[in-house]
Symmetry: C2
Subunit: 167 residues, 2 copies
């Protein structure tokens, strides 16, 4: 089901929303799923039937909705992609919070696990490499406003970097 039968973006969204509701509200109610996704209530029922068919949610009419372990696994993966991508967009690219979130909502469906793993590694590297780190991101922010790099600024930036490493 994984490689050959990928879920649609829409169904991935449902799993993600159900997972979030399960953790914040204890249970996922159809009404809240509808609201979370921004869809009419009837659409949720249709989606739940499809997800149940695929063995990703436990669904009986008029009763509580829960994820199966397969569904939870996918939901968690989508949620993880969302976190990683949003972190990159907001902390690294300096995209505003709302837009970072909205964009991550779409990107999470088109970047596969492996690609997101690469992004995770890259962010780790930025955070931990002595040549990068928070002050390097700060330098990037300055570069964005200044529009250019100049040797003087770069020299002091680099000096500070070396000093920080030595300490």
């Amino acid at each position: 089901m994984d490689k050959k039968n990928p879920l649609s973006e829409s169904l991935e969204d449902y799993l993600e929303a159900i997972l979030r509701l399960e953790t914040t509200d204890k249970v996922a109610r159809q009404k809240d799923i509808a609201e979370a996704i921004g869809v009419q209530r009837g659409s949720v029922t249709s989606a739940l039937k499809v997800l149940a068919e695929k063995g990703l949610v436990n669904y009986e009419p008029y009763s509580y909705i829960t994820l199966t372990s397969a569904g939870r696994k996918i939901g968690r993966e989508i949620e993880r992609r969302h976190r990683v991508i949003k972190d990159f967009l907001s902390r690294v690219l300096q995209i505003g919070d709302d837009k970072a979130d909205a964009t991550a909502c779409h990107m999470e469906h088109v970047m596969d696990t492996e690609t997101v793993n690469s992004l995770v590694k890259f962010i780790q590297f930025i955070d931990n490499c002595p040549r990068a780190g928070a002050d390097w991101i700060e330098a990037y922010v300055d570069y964005c406003s200044a529009g250019k790099l100049d040797r003087k600024t770069c020299r002091s930036c680099l000096n500070k970097c070396v000093a920080d490493f030595a300490s």
Copy 2:
């Protein structure tokens, strides 16, 4: 039409393909569009009608297909996003060429112009900041294989960085 009526991913793909065919083959033929997108010939005709309706292609049955200036503008923007994203995925994240291309094909539709502009700036910064650059990416590659940073390696890496800046 821009903000309120965004094109579907599918229609964006058609514009991108037509633009590419116009530049490589001089003209975009329906058959080649179908092949480029991986769709049956009939599907292309339907799409062309919709695009013509929206004023993005010049379309008359049985005649040549050309982009209008509005269509060309969108096509070029999508193509640009593709280039930027692919560059980031392959050169920075070190994703293999084919996958970088395939993933960029999807990401180009969900990352808006502003977000891609941010990515452009960030890549520029990586390429030009003395603390980053090609050797920093190289260090990232090493980090990926080693799985960790160690102080000794970092020291020499940083020393080299300083030396390169001075020269």
